[in-house]
Assembly symmetry: D2
Homo-oligomer: 344 residues x 4
Amino acid sequence: MSEPRRGFASDNAATIHPEVLAAITRANAGHAFGYGHDPLTEALAGRFQGEFGEHARAFGVWGGTGANVLCLRAACRPFDAVICAETAHLNVDECGAPEAIAGVKLLSVPTPDGKLDEAMIEGMLGRVGDEHAVQPRVVSISQCTELGTVYTVEELASLARFSHAHGLLVHVDGARLANAAAALGISLRAITTDAGVDMLSFGGTKNGLLGAEAVVFLDPALADGFEYLRKQSMQLASKMRFLSAQLDALLTDELWLRCASHANEMASLLADRVRSLAGVTLTRPVQANAVFAALAPEAIAPLRERYDFYVWDEPAGEVRWMCSWDTTPEDVEGFAAAVAEVAG
Amino acid sequence: MSEPRRGFASDNAATIHPEVLAAITRANAGHAFGYGHDPLTEALAGRFQGEFGEHARAFGVWGGTGANVLCLRAACRPFDAVICAETAHLNVDECGAPEAIAGVKLLSVPTPDGKLDEAMIEGMLGRVGDEHAVQPRVVSISQCTELGTVYTVEELASLARFSHAHGLLVHVDGARLANAAAALGISLRAITTDAGVDMLSFGGTKNGLLGAEAVVFLDPALADGFEYLRKQSMQLASKMRFLSAQLDALLTDELWLRCASHANEMASLLADRVRSLAGVTLTRPVQANAVFAALAPEAIAPLRERYDFYVWDEPAGEVRWMCSWDTTPEDVEGFAAAVAEVAG
Amino acid sequence: MSEPRRGFASDNAATIHPEVLAAITRANAGHAFGYGHDPLTEALAGRFQGEFGEHARAFGVWGGTGANVLCLRAACRPFDAVICAETAHLNVDECGAPEAIAGVKLLSVPTPDGKLDEAMIEGMLGRVGDEHAVQPRVVSISQCTELGTVYTVEELASLARFSHAHGLLVHVDGARLANAAAALGISLRAITTDAGVDMLSFGGTKNGLLGAEAVVFLDPALADGFEYLRKQSMQLASKMRFLSAQLDALLTDELWLRCASHANEMASLLADRVRSLAGVTLTRPVQANAVFAALAPEAIAPLRERYDFYVWDEPAGEVRWMCSWDTTPEDVEGFAAAVAEVAG
Amino acid sequence: MSEPRRGFASDNAATIHPEVLAAITRANAGHAFGYGHDPLTEALAGRFQGEFGEHARAFGVWGGTGANVLCLRAACRPFDAVICAETAHLNVDECGAPEAIAGVKLLSVPTPDGKLDEAMIEGMLGRVGDEHAVQPRVVSISQCTELGTVYTVEELASLARFSHAHGLLVHVDGARLANAAAALGISLRAITTDAGVDMLSFGGTKNGLLGAEAVVFLDPALADGFEYLRKQSMQLASKMRFLSAQLDALLTDELWLRCASHANEMASLLADRVRSLAGVTLTRPVQANAVFAALAPEAIAPLRERYDFYVWDEPAGEVRWMCSWDTTPEDVEGFAAAVAEVAG
């Protein structure tokens, strides 16, 4: 790493925000009881309630897969199932953790844009009451989705009403929830609690932290016994104060919003710069911090030699360019110039 | 946390060592691929081989319970069992993770001092080959034990020979392995690889890190497919470089040894200071960084008002005093004086 | 099997009772919907309520391990634990099914006679509320125990009161419940529902059936969703009518009581015949259909050449002789004579 | 059940074949060790080798879901996945047992006719070697499929070759394997062992048994330790001799073939009788013992008042008529007449 550089591979390739590192350093004074019995962690509960409403109950965990799996473990009996998009991280990127660790079957639905709607959910309800089939219990959506799209508040509220009417809980995989709130220009509460969401995985690592996420129950009954589940699921940090310091920093002076807005703006700038280039087609709406584009296959390899990014769909020549809190306008301009060069 | 202070509750109540924080800060430059595909993580493999031998395969994980459970998942078929001491962390302090996450039954054995011996293991082998009983596959020992005791190299080697002769693998829960090596004055390799250990949970968090441990396979065949298990078990950090930076710092200039030796010395000093006090009885040999003592019940509460520590066995009036890398001689002297005051 | 003979190995070595085989044959007429949607199964619910009270909800399953594991799956959250005797079938004879299939940790207690009491249960409650430890939720007892002993109704009621006062449910592994009821001379209801039991595994196979047991919930809230658990746990018979026919026969004209009383009487007769023999010591009270005895080691082998039975504790020379519904007085006399011969 | 009648709901609604009941009765003489340590069970191993080849290792189990789940438990590590058709019983009719009990993720593929082919399998291999995704290990096919279709031997052999070339094992859910063999006019061995199948769930219950299936490993290495898995998975019958008696009867004088051929012939007769009726469209090829047809919605209810059968696809008006070993030509003629009446 002699020459630090920034690419467009993922927002988890980005650095720790200086305010976060400063918070860790400040927390590193004196002894503190482990496992969350420290003042920083105790104060954090109130901060989360400030963001998500007075009934919210938040629990810090190590990672995003842990947060997602813990939500399912908290909500599901052994025969309950989870409806999600076929592209959901839960379904394709967690190495079977929902099944192997939570013992839960996913009922995945193909979607055009990574977003579930009521008709898709309804299509999975045909076996309710049939003892030979798993019973849908949770609708899990990603906000933003894995395709960079964002549910509107109206879509969320409608989906939650439908879900509740059918006895289903709504879970949000919010690894990039901040980017969605920033994109919609609304509060974290408006995009979750007020829209009828029951529980969420609140992302931090992709938004400037070293490594910390939170499980937030908006339906506090779901939090009953959760301390045990977190410990058993290997997500209870012994030096919890350092996770709490990160999450506290993220909620201080709207750092979550500053970071996410910036990342979104950089994606918007990048989209603007490449939209009209010959040989480049934007393949998805650019609504948050991801840009999906199709390039000629022969353009991809030389571009990857200069910048890190992922090929999303090899046969289609579709690539994903992800912007982060630390992406600079100069990074974008430089990258766009490189794209123009290879694509032309 | 207005007045940082240091108690004797646990080595996980301690701070991050400055060299570790500096390493995290250094690693925080530019982008790096997530999930361990970064130069720091790639280099770490060799550092661990330097410590544990050329066949060692090491994998960073978030926490100690994760490390232990992952070792069991890597080694055990569904009907395999793990022999351990009744006091093992696995058995009493992981909220049933071995059973619920790894699906493994523990065959726990009462011990006088937290240490297993060959006769105890042999006593658990009576049902080998009987399809109605789980089949012992792993012997898991804690080094140091939860009672602050340390296996000698000869004890380890003898136990490993016996285990291997009976088709059993040896796992070491090494949350405090550094303290054991420091106590014995030998290398990490001598206390593990050379003694016949097959796999271990290598502790870092209790020895000056923010939060990082490693699973180390000394029998490399056990590492086959382990990347998948780690991801599925929610122990793969997305910004892995910051875990690797911590572990790298721990292995640099023998930081692990400096930290552990110091903690051990502080425990020794504390034991010296309280050994002859009226009303204080040391209840276990002080071999590493823990001091166990019995006090009159009425002495415990006032002491806990001034210093944090745990009551180990309430009816017996037994308490545990744990020293850390950041415990100072002044801390010890101040504490010993407080003990003298309440115990007298 | 050219020469059918009867030994004393186990009550599951016995035959199917003719009334049971006749019931299977009668049920074998015409088509019937599978999976319990047949008239015989529907009628069985009421028969069980007749025996266990109007709130009882009974579900036929294939086997005893299935019944036990299903009770645990129905009652336990992932972090709940089950208190049981160290000798419990659950603990030693189900190849880790409670842990691997139900994900439940057993907290086993040494007992002198296979029976739990309140003090033993209380001893396992020290970690209630501690997130690092599994949380006791169920007390599981065996009635009769694996050592042939029988809880009195007073013992059961007292244990249930204590358990309920501590938020614990009482489960009875009733593989031999009929033998216990017969021994005590009371109804199935008196020994379970009226004593405060919450759920039980009701044995049939050891008492004259081909292969059928029932899970009976006396607290009907526990039955919520149980149909799904049974199917998922591979215990839902597709041709359920033939399991129901067996259970129906067992509850008809008190076949359960006739079979169990006879088996108990045969054990009593056997105990009488061998009690005063030189070289034979009865090692446990003979309260139901098992006789435990100590013999000189050199007497065991020749006796096993003539009759099947199990060695219970090899070093102690302790053997188990089990009587069945089909054991005859002649079998007992013949066996007692053989014992006299080898032991003398 | 005052008037026994036969419908077309399922082959598990049928009766026990008289030869099977006679075999159970014959086995009911004298005592026999439980759990398979009896002469009938011991002899059965050889009978299965006679059918499936000398390397076959067969294990009796209670039910079909048990057989399927046990095959997966025997073959899969925690991160392994199973490729199957979207319509597979494993995927839709086992209440999540593969996920909850075996911890295995299913990668299900839409198919036109319930049959997998090489291209479908290849489409699931894109994430091999990627630690974020489960790793395909088993291809599970149903023979006959849930849609009544049958793989030819050539299709099987080709699929097995492809699977093996990609490191995948082939599992056959053979709940109706006998019907497939009968339809193809070949031996059980030709349809499995010789075609490259590695393991199978061999159905008996749908083909005249009371309740017994077998797990058969054609790759005997997969059977290593299977006794423990069977016990732990609650599929080891204590009075195993009565399961073995059923399976033995099924393999005696080709009872499996006689029963299956007859059921197939009845389906063929039924298809012939209704094929040209107005208002009836056969929706799937009739290759074994199932007839799928579309009827006008208003015809279905009155027909179900007279005969039991399942509606397969309500919106499409598709129904399933299943023939059994005990379906008579008169049953078929009567039913076809009723269909003609309601459909006209």
